[in-house]
Amino acid sequence: MVSPILPLMLEDVELLRGGRRILGPITLTVGGAGITVVMGPNGAGKTSLLRAMHGLERVSRGWVLWQGEAEDVRARQAFVFQTPVLMRRSVIDCIAYPLILDGRPRREARKAAEKQAEAVGLGVTLSAPASVLSGGERQKMALARALVRSPEVLFLDEPCANLDLHSTAEIERILIAARDDGTRIVMSTHNIGQARRLADDILFLFDGRLIEAGANAAFFAGPGTPEARAHINGDLLP
């Protein structure tokens, strides 16, 4: 299935903050299917790029172009933040919240949320307040909340940054299942192994600039830039 809001095109996008350039200029296209992984060292602009794509950051120059009506576009995407936003509600109501916003009846929304919680393997008491969840459970809750609207595009910012191996494996399983269902995924990660396992293609950022882009196998087989080579080798850059 081809998402009607895709392809996403960035044209000469630049993000300035306090006069400092933190991103760009970047021109790229995200289309088709699969998982795109954004890589790069700290401060390279990974989070800013994802946020600019999703419309959380207003770009200083250039264009972020989705297909279709602007009103509609963001509701058909979802974003999982590095630190999950916990609402002061029960787990089930946190997950059902996007559907409530869509005007779905509470019972129906809760039912869908329950299903989604099961799908991501969130085996906790759903009526408990979200604050009692552990780190891994919080991330799964955030994923369930992101997926409950069946978004066409899913952004994730370092979804496994603070998780152990077991939780990381579970999250990766959920992401692969979502991709196989046709969800276009764009995520950032520091975990090179994770990038290797999940990515269909890679965007490599350095100092706010997109310096390499390519398919998984090609990127890891022979990175074209010294920065990317150093990054995947785990070298400490000067």
Binding site: G55, L56, A75, V85, L86, R88, P98, L101
Partner: protein, 234 residues
């Protein structure tokens, strides 16, 4: 010291014997202040949330005004409401002066800025937490405010209780606009002022203790109903 002991003793006696005058003025105190708190909350809570969520040109000025109005002198509010509601004032035709309605109006004016200001503080913190999520989920402006009000309800209850506390103990404004008429507009605070004026400190203190007990009872009741202090719930 004697006066305080006698006041406590008299308060206990009035409560135990269910003194009908005491019951009447206590219920009227509650009636006026609960109504005023409800109206002020209906205005102040959404207003506080709205200011927290929206960026507009006079935002800073509005916040400063609200904070300043928290210290609004009740006597001045009373005087202004009096002049407006007087038969010779602009709203005189309604004949509201010296009625419980006039007292509700005055108290509402006094506590709306308090409730709005405290709820603004609380909602602003919550908004910082929720901002990215709500924008990402494409919540409408109205949905954002509704969500913040609902999820911030514990803090907002505190705001409403602060307003209630200020109103239930207020005497300056309601004395002026209510007139402290026996069996019509006399409430606990104006009765205390009256008894103090008569030099009957024992009775005045007794009423004072009833007032304090009432404030505590209302707070306790609300907290128990909403289960604030239970376990890990919000």
């Amino acid at each position: 010291m004697n006066d305080i002991v006698e006041g406590l003793w008299q308060a206990a006696r009035l409560v135990v014997t269910l003194d009908s005058d005491l019951a009447e003025i206590t219920l009227r105190s509650l009636q006026v202040t609960v109504t005023a708190t409800a109206i002020a909350s209906a205005i102040g809570l959404p207003l506080g949330a709205w200011i927290a969520v929206n960026r507009f040109r006079l935002r800073r000025a509005v916040i400063i005004m609200l904070n300043a109005l928290m210290g609004l002198p009740p006597v001045v509010v009373g005087l202004i409401v009096y002049v407006i509601l007087s038969r010779s004032g602009p709203l005189g035709v309604f004949g509201l002066l010296f009625t419980p309605t006039a007292m509700i109006v005055a108290q509402t004016i006094i506590i709306t800025p308090i409730i709005a200001s405290i709820s603004h503080q609380a909602i602003r913190e919550l908004w910082a937490d929720y901002h990215d999520l709500l924008i990402s989920l494409h919540a409408t402006r109205r949905q954002r405010i509704a969500t913040l009000l609902w999820d911030g309800r514990r803090a907002l209850m505190t705001a409403a209780l602060a307003g209630f506390g200020r109103a239930i103990g207020e005497v300056g404004a309601i004395m002026i606009v209510g007139g402290n008429i026996d069996h019509a507009t006399r409430v606990l605070t104006t009765a205390i002022a009256l008894e103090t004026g008569k030099g009957d400190f024992g009775l005045a203190l007794a009423l004072g203790f009833v007032l304090i007990a009432l404030a505590i009872a209302v707070n306790l009741a609300l907290h128990m109903l909403s289960g604030t202090e239970r376990g890990s719930r919000w």
